[in-house]
């Protein structure tokens, strides 16, 4: 692999990194769609996609071509500017979130010491996009979906941040590469051993933040038909889709960096270990999606306010005491 830090100009470095990230996001979208459908199929004892290519491996590519080729329809009465800005606003910050992620020991786009905060800040922009999408569609289902999404994202942002504070207390850093370095290559040296509760809360919050089942309320299709993206067609829908998978990867990448030792592994540490952990967590997310029913809206908020926030506060308190002593 290329050692990104040897490239002299930071601007060139960022541009090359961005191209790499874009390629990764696109490829990851295809891989995730394929994985998702295969996991769903096998859990339901079906083969999943099977006809396009050997074992349906080209199916996501065919889907992508279909999405790109489809007509983009703006509904009557919709605000055309906001309506088409929404998918872009949803997708663009997802790219930015990839920049500070240390994929390998020397494979990091931007090594800044507030990497964690950068990711959390950019990923919060997604709410705005969904809100715009729901509002500008001139559709009642979209509006309801957007309303649900705002309440859900705001509620879950808090325990998400709170569950990360103990990590910062323990490592004393916001730089993701440094946090990785404080953990060792072996599983018992990972932070998940010290902070199991924080890991669980964080992971559940990732489900809620990325609108994945059982917390997929903004797009609950049996209630709101398709939620905020009811009216979107073609690549508008495709970008939302791609953004959702990108945020899933960002969430899983954060979880593996902060709790599971990032790119370090028992043998031959490197970016392969990082990808392995990320995709293992993604598979768990898919597995959960195809197992549970959807929670109700008030229960979802109850879970955040009554369980996760107090628990994560308690967790911070205990960690602070332990660190201090």
């Amino acid at each position: 692999m290329i050692d990104l830090s040897t490239i002299p100009s930071p601007l060139v470095q960022i541009v090359i990194g961005l191209i790499g990230v874009l390629a990764f996001v696109g490829l990851n979208g295809l891989v995730c769609v394929y994985l998702e459908r295969k996991v769903a199929g096998h859990i339901q004892r079906r083969p999943g996609p099977f006809e396009v290519g050997p074992h349906g491996i080209l199916q996501p590519l065919a889907d992508a071509v279909k999405l790109v080729a489809k007509q983009m329809i703006t509904p009557k009465g919709a605000d055309p500017i906001l309506y088409w800005a929404a998918p872009l606003i949803s997708f663009a910050p997802a790219i930015a979130c990839f920049l500070p992620l240390p994929f390998g020991p020397k494979l990091q786009n931007v090594s800044i010491n507030v990497g964690l905060i950068l990711i959390l800040a950019f990923s919060s922009l997604n709410v705005l996009a969904l809100c715009l999408a729901g509002w500008s569609s001139q559709n009642k289902w979209s509006l309801l979906g957007a309303a649900r999404d705002i309440a859900q994202s705001v509620a879950y942002e808090i325990p998400l941040l709170l569950s990360l504070l103990p990590i910062i207390l323990l490592t004393g850093s916001l730089n993701l590469a440094e946090i990785t370095q404080t953990q060792g290559p072996w599983p018992w040296q990972w932070l998940v051993v010290k902070q199991p509760l924080a890991f669980i809360i964080f992971f559940v919050c990732v489900f809620a933040e990325t609108n994945r089942a059982p917390f997929d309320l903004p797009e609950a299709e049996s209630e709101l038909t398709a939620g905020f993206h009811t009216e979107y067609s073609g690549m508008g829908f495709g970008l939302f889709f791609l953004a959702e998978y990108s945020y899933m990867v960002v969430g899983c990448a954060l979880a593996s960096i902060l709790f599971l030792g990032g790119y370090q592994g028992p043998v031959a540490s490197g970016w392969w270990w990082f990808l392995l952990k990320v995709y293992a967590l993604l598979l768990v997310m898919m597995w959960v999606r195809w197992t549970y029913p959807r929670v109700r809206f008030d229960q979802l908020l109850n879970l955040a306010w009554k369980w996760f926030i107090p628990l994560s506060l308690l967790n911070i308190l205990i960690t602070a005491l332990v660190v201090k002593l």
Binding site: V39, G41, H42, I43, Q44, R45, R46, P47, F50, W287, V288, W290, T291, Y292
Partner: protein, 188 residues
Amino acid sequence: MIGSKLKETFDGVVSLLIGLKITFKNFLKPNLTVHYPRKTVKPEELTGYRGHIELVPKPENPFVPRCIGCGLCRDICPSGCIEVRSKRIAEEKEIHTPHFGLQDTPLDLTRKVAPPQKTKIEIVSFELNYNYCSLCGLCVQNCPAGSLRFSKDIYLASFSSRDFEFDLLKRLEKQAQARLKEEEEWTK
């Protein structure tokens, strides 16, 4: 109070884990899908299946249906999708009384016609409009000559409704020819 609440939560978490375990077990089990068209349903699993109706040939002549042209199937069909046309032809000995034989009458049971001497009925056409058929089986059950049965054609598909208007006599002929060919090959 708090104890019971905690226990409830614990049980809930356990129930979630059990759910995950079950789906994981199913994930590892083999697929059940029949990969049509590479694989099809086995013929023995089609016992009793009702496809569209077809004619049963006479045991001595596979080209001629058992049908006696009574028209009961046409009358009883709830959707009116069967059309039978038959004509009475005099047997060769009775060639002197031609005025009965040459009439090409669509069958009407209510009309009282004096029975001709020594005639036999030839089925001119037997058409089924499968588009309207609801596969109730009343025609098969009520056929006095046992001339109707259900086919086992389960993979019928087409872009045109015309393809489901069957001429059952032609079908019978094709089946008979296929059978003859099979028998010939077998004797060789």
